[in-house]
Symmetry: C2
Amino acid sequence: MASGQRRRISPTIYDVAQAAGVAPSTVSRTFSRPGRVNSETADRIRKVAAELGYRTNPMARALATTHSSLIALVVPDITNPVYFEIINGVQDEAAEAGYTVLLVDSRESDKREREALERALPIVDGIVLGTSRMSDASIRMIAKQKPMVALNRAVREIPSVVPDNARGVRRALEHLGELGHDPVTYLAGPEASWADGMRWRGLREASLELSVHVRRLGPLSPNVAGGVAGAKAWMLAPTSGVIAYNDLVAIGFIRAVQGRGIGVPSDVSVVGYDNIFAADLVSPALTTVATPRRALGAAAVRNLVAQIKGAHPRGGPPVVVPVKLVERASTAEAPGAAVRLPHSGGHTVPDILPAPENA
Amino acid sequence: MASGQRRRISPTIYDVAQAAGVAPSTVSRTFSRPGRVNSETADRIRKVAAELGYRTNPMARALATTHSSLIALVVPDITNPVYFEIINGVQDEAAEAGYTVLLVDSRESDKREREALERALPIVDGIVLGTSRMSDASIRMIAKQKPMVALNRAVREIPSVVPDNARGVRRALEHLGELGHDPVTYLAGPEASWADGMRWRGLREASLELSVHVRRLGPLSPNVAGGVAGAKAWMLAPTSGVIAYNDLVAIGFIRAVQGRGIGVPSDVSVVGYDNIFAADLVSPALTTVATPRRALGAAAVRNLVAQIKGAHPRGGPPVVVPVKLVERASTAEAPGAAVRLPHSGGHTVPDILPAPENA
DNA sequence: TTGAAAGCGCTAACAT
DNA sequence: ATGTTAGCGCTTTCAA
């Protein structure tokens, strides 16, 4: 008693079957495999169903078929703008294929990622694993239980789709080279980062080809604080060209050097990576490598759905999607061989790398 | 033949029951209502279950209980930084209560929102509806089918949790007033926005109390472009103090006026709303009203879970969570009665409000 | 405290 | 093309 509104109890295929004068299985077929039933009866059934307000019960269907039409998308940090477009790409492609996506945010925590995956695993048909914090071994473990594709990271034996990191940094270096910057500093990402490894490697190769010298500085944490730390270290041996591991690092770097009276791009040109939302908001607007994140997500889903539908997971080389350089205001002609530092000379700088990031 | 790895078939309560020498129902109780079974037998069952790698099947449980332990969180735009913390708050609180959250991004589209909700409805136990694009009537319709709580918007008859908009704008105006700004321009949000209505109302009340004049300018779309349009209009009758509907609008406004050679905060002080990620990244860093988004999300989930557990949805006044002003660099002492405009006088400005936003 | 048995709503052989 | 009939794996009376 004292009941609030009562939630209506839904009709089942049995109710519809009775009302339409057919067998329950015919009703089931009408909704699960149209075509397997006479179009006239089907129409009648659909009509009756509509009148009764029948809706197929996904749980019952899932139990019977062992398919939930749910896929999980795991990202390390929903807060990171990099994932916006990936999420959209995944959602769209999934919807198109008739899947609903369960978005899991692991918050950069190994523990959380495991727990969330644990929760999700039994109810999803497959997993898109974005930039995982877990070990390759753990990942393969999970891939044994459900179809999976790795995103932004190539995992051996697991279908993977990654952006063309090598080409991205190459374009960045090319751009800086054309503007006369040499040498160029690479503000490196986290040590454990697969992407950082790829980028640094790509940079070294490009360095040879383009005859532009490249120095590595890091590791840095992949955020604004990391950029600030990088700036401190860079002051020890400044270069007029800088390529950052990602846009956040680039932004942190720029703010830090600007704070020291160094102009961007008048004194240093810096290029970011990812082309996040904020890249166009900061001053100066950031020149950066745009990764096709939406395409990345879509490609991952296509592959995953294929697996779910029975395709053999192909453990071959990862699918590589193209990137492009977006030129904005943070890069310009090199001022000369070396950047002019206002305080250079008598200025004291920290002598340990990377500098602590609590500045 | 060509077979990929085969996914292991999972043991059921029957397997565990047999191995442990008990009835299936006892195994079920062990996991679904511990305490209803002798602790020794329970231990034994758990041990056997662990050995067999038994995991309870959520679909089967859902079918039997009609509870999925899933809740949906609907947001209009995952891309909007405002939702980061809300999402985190919801996820955390949900996890704590034993629920997994199905994140639905409606992309500002009524159609999408409906479709996604349609998909989600049958599989979730309840819904947290953030800043819906739908009409109150549609919302109530859905609330009839599943427990629901509205977020960031008060819907009559539906439990709602909202930030203290009135107090937020009051603090903003107070701050500007103390710095000597009067009158102050309010860069209004979308016409249909519930939050905008609340803020404007709060502003008028505060205006009376604080004796600071306030003008409304808008409606503007709630993004950077809207801020740019607002700046154009503001040029017609500039004020030294500006309060924006949200941070994005504030950022757009600032960039636009800076482009005209107007200094922030030297010529105009502007305060944003929301305290999004980027607010601390732009130059000057934005003074803004911080809404406790994580708390907002958590409160919504607590309410929702209570409803799911059988509490009567309370249609009373919305739960209001407190906000606070974060002072940064975009506000300062007023330069005088009116702002000095470099081009004021002979400068031509558009004469229709709001200005087209494709500038 | 435990067991036996009847569903939950749907799908999928197998028959007709 | 449609009907019959078992389940899918779990929960939940009802008995014992």
